[in-house]
Symmetry: D3
Subunit: 250 residues, 6 copies
């Protein structure tokens, strides 16, 4: 049986989840989410138009685009801004595509109408799990933004058909750990990010062992651990929305 | 005599100043500053090296660089990120150069030793005066960061030789107003940004009337109004530092 | 039980694998791989130096970098070159990072010595599965290039500790299919790419359902199907190397 | 009282102004302006259309855009072209925005009709004051270009409602100097650029002390000195236009 | 009289020409051309639209655009991709403009109708003469693509009014050589590229002596040598098309 | 026999050559050259260092680099700056490479010592022949700059081993014309640029017929015409240098 982790957690224990709504008042919906020391500003902004390629290709309904960025002071060594380097790095591209796919998986684009939902995730403090915190917070920001559309009667029905959350799991010194912090993530033999809906369906499973490989059995252990953590996150999301929405959350 | 302003202020009244330290815990010093609805994350990060051009040119001492950015959800209409447009716009360049000059005016680069002080100002909510709030907050973030250098005995003496703050003033429907909000700023006939040290010396005076011009007398009225506001901001900065620094603030 | 697929395959059947060595004679090792109509030039080039960041960070051993590109005439509608658009798109970045991680997972960088192994995958014809064909062919190109280092006695031992191959699987109209072609891939409800070593360990599992979600049971079905296909690809890789290498292939 | 300056001028003396019309015959109006050794090609070109954002926002009237560049051989050490560095530097952006605002301050955009006036300022030789020479010359180039519109009866009335000129002033070894050359500018404690109309109204006042600060009294001294220089420049502009325009200059 | 060249050729002898049709099956027409070790993928793709500038300027007919690239493994030292450097180098620009002009010289753009013919030349192996091989192969790819338009009755008549081919010639140690390989090209005193139609008219003559100069007489010698090689290439093109086209080639 | 040309010239007549030395006093050597209405600022600047690739490759001697640009007001319709488009266009790249090769052909890089000679050609007015005027003027600017090195005894011997000049010729309505102006150039069936040394050796011959082709005989006619014009230009260059150099010009 395992000893406590460096931050005194059990192997199957999430970091404390913190949620502060309204961090960016000019966004349609926003939340400052914390997975322990990892803190991400998640904002959802609604535009009353859709990308031009949708018009050109005759695609109906709305769209959702996600952008992700690490603020330069989010890491212990200052991280240069993308614009200073002139390009977005590969890791950022992967993450913002993952956030976008994860949210679109629970979003009925037809019911969204001719709106674009912009999801912005800016990391204020990075201690591992910034992409999973981003997805988990982005869902809440999106739900708050959707409420504004509903309240303004611009759409008739909530286009979010389920909730979505994400968590990381990994093998660290042979042990399966939930919700890795930076030090654990850096030295994990295998690292997986799992995105799941509130009803327990997978949206994405990304499991990778760059310096290592992993067996099917180990993957199963990691997926089971992720699912338990995701059920907990789903419950916390629902509680948050119950408090901050007029109507019952999905 | 003038009526109250749209936000119920008097002509010579600042918006409420709010200051929240530690918004970005991985920065060497940070503060979330609010000038009314305008809110800016100001972070100062210390690097133990200097730009390569200083080495090449044989320049001694340290350096300070400032970067400024508006987060995409800081405006009512979402503002695309610089990296999405592929370039920093002219306004951003002007502002980050102004912030850098303003801080360097009160910083003894020799006393800073071989360190670079990075100043990052990211606007969370923009309601006019983002550059003046940035300068006013950046001084506080820099002072907190310097304290870490002093506490770690990496430098012997505080290289900040004075405090610095900034405020906007403008002529709006012929009346001189202090600390313009977005609506006032947009329609002001003349707009000036004034940067002043704690001892009352000017660092920068930038007065411009794009669609209009202004007389020497009007400039004098604006400068006097700015000075009164800056004395108030200086006092609030000192009070903040007295509370958050072990030693008496400058 | 399912009907034949559009290209007359069974659900669990790979497309014909074709392998043509020496397509790029100036590379250290090269192969033109075909997964049915999908054809990719895979080339491995050895440089006798390592990236500067390794020197700076004091990291020992060698490095492997992968680049991926679709030639403009690889698709039925001409695809503009990256340089014409001025940037690499997000999908390309994801794929070249995946290829790099997959190869590094079976490469002992210490045993590679101070060499950089450049992996280039250029798609000549794209009919689905370009990333999995790239990984499968890149391993062969790398193995041929390594042989040149061994033959020239620049390294003492083969740094490739296992073989690696990749295949796609997906749910298409509810049925699990192996090695999706373009039309299947485009309309699949769930799409997974699985990278596995010759010894049957996973390197990467990436399963995604953009317009859909999937259950744990469905994931298991897809993984089992992928494993059977990967065993077949591993055997074909070994046969190829037996023919084209002086010593027995790994 | 002060000794003569390095170029034998008195403290309150302008450098010799030289003006050569028609330097760029294909522009609508052009002048080669010299402030002593500082020489700038100022050209104004008229396009019979306006920027697309004006159409989109429903803004009526014309527009004026300014661009500024230092030719690579304008400095004693060759200055790389913007395109060689891939970007416009911050100083250039500030200057071209300043030139644009200065000209627009005396230009009635409604009276300009649906025309864009392009102002190009290319520095042939840089000895301090390139931005003030640019503004002073750009007004003349613009006036000559406007005459072509008037002569061709494309507009009914001169849209330039006043003239505009600019000059630098600074504190150098404690003394207020007019129209700084490069060596004075480089070592000045305080540097101000003042843009004024022919009728004596300010357009811009930009006063900065990067390594230093300045008092309100010092600012007043500098502004008075600038005004005397600007009256002289205004008179020289008027004399030039009297000679080169059919009708009396504004 | 001269000895044999390093690759056992006579001075006036072409390298073996190899032609493999259909290398890129998704292109409208494609050929892998070899001039000895130099091998280039030449592909022609038809788009049923023309560039927007043609519409704007009211230009009728079709268009042809050429792009050229060296694959990173085409040289003995790996050549970084254009996108990795962020820009196309000057040599590439020159070559793709040359290819475009050469093909347009034998193409009746009116008869092409509202189509764009994209010519892509990607060098698989570079041993001198990549631009001349590109032109020679591009004509064949274009002819095959045109046949598809004819067969589909999208155009009534072959818009290619002649064939076109290219070859290099040079002075190497004072001797005029045909079809230079890399080592000859690198050390040639004078290097000329000659583009000629099947009927023997010149399309381009580019003769350059960077480290050297050349006389009119030497130019004549080179041109005569080029013409003899080009007649041979023209015959080989015709033979290829006779084999691969239903109708007699031009 | 032909009628007079649109600018009253004979077919074999150059436009008036004008030469104004010292146009850019901070360059090491400069000249404003006019070929009729075409006017180009040619400046040569000496740097006391060589490109880093020369050091890395162990190449001895000096270097010469040329840059070419059209000022935005050099054409009747304003031409956007390269930096506004973010890239140098293909035509510019071709021209600056041609200027560089032409000057290097008469420059002994060993005798230049460890200096870089920067050649900048900025077109002030474009009426055809800007590249040939640039080469012809650049030689003079380079010669003046070299004189400064000789006078300062930084080099012992003139590294320019010959003079160089360039002229365009073309077939216009079937007639061979010398030194084409813009209107002639635009409609010429064949256009050739010929670069020749003072001793009558060719440096470059570039002959192209984009919409047309040309016979060997026509090429000969054009070359003969170019040579007569180049002899005249060489004489005018020599006269200019005799006047502006202390020692006899080459």
């Amino acid at each position: 049986m395992s000893a406590l982790r460096s931050d005194q957690r059990l192997a199957a224990q999430l970091r404390p989840l913190t949620l502060e709504p309204g961090i960016a008042p000019y966004a349609s919906g926003s939340v400052l989410i914390g997975f322990g020391s990892t803190r991400v500003i998640c904002a959802a902004t609604i535009e009353s138009k859709v990308p031009s390629w949708m018009k050109q290709q005759g695609v109906k309904g709305g769209w959702l685009t996600a952008e992700y960025s690490m603020l330069p002071y989010s890491t212990l060594d200052r991280k240069p801004r993308d614009i200073a380097k002139g390009r977005i790095d590969g890791r950022t591209v992967e993450i913002q595509r993952l956030i976008g796919r994860s949210l679109r998986a629970v979003l009925d684009l037809q019911k969204l109408g001719e709106h674009t939902l912009w999801i912005d995730c800016d990391v204020l403090q990075a201690d591992g799990g910034t992409r999973t915190a981003s997805i988990t917070g982005a869902y809440l920001a999106a739900r708050l933004a959707i409420q504004k559309l509903l309240d303004a009667r611009k759409i008739a029905e909530n286009p979010l058909v389920d909730s979505v959350a994400a968590v990381s799991v990994g093998l660290f010194k042979g042990e399966a750990l939930l919700d890795l912090n930076y030090l654990e993530d850096k030295d994990a033999e295998v690292d997986a990010n799992v995105v799941m809906t509130g009803r327990g369906q997978f949206v994405e499973v990304q499991s990778s062992g760059e310096e290592s490989t992993f067996s099917h059995e180990q993957l199963e252990t990691l997926l089971a651990l992720a699912k338990s953590g995701l059920q907990e996150l789903t419950a916390l999301q629902a509680a948050f929305l119950q408090k901050h929405l007029p109507a019952p959350a999905i």
